[in-house]
Symmetry: D2
Subunit: 142 residues, 4 copies
């Protein structure tokens, strides 16, 4: 595991793919939402089989809001550390915060807001108890 | 409807999106498979509600093979005509052929091979009769 | 031209591509940033050749911040009207606001913040005068 | 390094991203071309700084043809080993072959054809000598 930034207990690393760049020669702005997602999946993978288990138990987590600040351009083949943490998990909703760094330089930050829904009906539902507990345990010092 | 190239009874037009370019300053090679798909969906939309109807009747069409020849680079904001036709629809399988043109210049061509499957089991199944008939009618001079 | 929503003088329409959906059966959250971009390009296309002219004159417009609220899921083949307007164009920066609708139902909204940079140096630079004037003219009632 | 399949001296591993799936619940057919590319970049990274060095020396490698056989559906979070090798590197052209496996099950295969071009003019040019030599050395038993 990489050493996460201050205030973040989790991080993962992505390498910017050529397909993720655009004709400005930098990573396209939509790519960051995909990297956020990669970090969320790996964040959750630490708990009981992760997102697949969440789905198997009849839930989906919808993304209901997203925000990115692109602080410095990121280039093909750059290695970017995606720090992620959950804040405000209660009821059906939770929020992830992100900080993206290249070496010790912050290149982007932002957050996403999510809602648990019933997989069949897509109606809001409380998050699985075990997940709330597991996240509370790892984020208690957040 | 655009005038399709010789041998093609159908065409649609896409405009190259900025997100579809890469740091070489040209459209990324994977974008062409997305444009193929856009053309397939619009091709099928002429028949009984198109792909959504096919799904509603319990089918999916999987892509089982793809091929692209990239003959000339394509750039941001280029308008590209995607000519498409079905060849060899029989049993569970069918093939689309494509010719992509910018003005009167051919920029790419290729084909995809598909298989009808049962939507639940993902097992191969014969194509819907009405679709076979409809495609045979429009492609009879192919 | 489509009739834009109240407060928006411009809109364009996209059809959700199959490639833009994900295994939740709905459009992926990153797709919205691509649709924003399609709308920006078409918005600017009304002025002097649009973004290509801006590039030819030595500028790029970087995306420095993005925000999306996903209000209702959007599905394959849905037609979505993307309303867009520029607010706060001054100096090197400008902001686009968006409202996405399916029929008369709002499905998403948000904004992006941009900075004009010199194409060679990627350093901030004032926006082209002609563009500031042209946008001011169309957005004066905004 | 992973153990590559018989006949392949190189492999890398990708995990299927949620963004790479579509509403059929499987990885989208265009994603495979992105995975091919990830494998090419890592394949080349073993030689003198890889693709970035190739670019720095004034070359680009264009993709001029692609082919994929989708043998079995691939799902969200599946780990896929992408085996890659270069065959037929001579003059300005070279070909990559790929075999994608999930565990010991082959899920896809195919190839891409490439041409070296001068980065400024985009005109065909012989591949860098050092790269031809380096690839010949690793692929000699191919």
């Amino acid at each position: 595991m990489l050493l996460a930034m201050d205030g973040f207990g989790f991080s993962t690393e992505i390498t910017v793919r050529f397909a993720e760049t655009d004709a400005q020669g930098i990573a396209h702005n939509a790519s960051y939402l995909v990297w956020y997602e990669v970090a969320r999946i790996e964040y959750l993978a630490r708990f009981r089989g992760g997102y697949k288990t969440i789905q198997d138990e009849g839930y989906e987590a919808l993304t209901i809001e997203s925000h990115v600040r692109y602080l410095r351009p990121v280039f093909f083949d750059d290695r970017v550390t995606v720090n992620a943490r959950v804040v405000d998990l209660r009821g059906a909703r939770f929020r992830f915060e992100y900080l993206l760094a290249r070496g010790d330089e912050t290149v982007a930050d932002g957050w996403t807001q999510h809602a648990f829904v019933d997989r069949e009906t897509l109606r809001p539902t409380r998050s699985p108890e075990w997940l709330t507990a597991a996240i509370a345990a790892v984020e208690k010092d957040g």
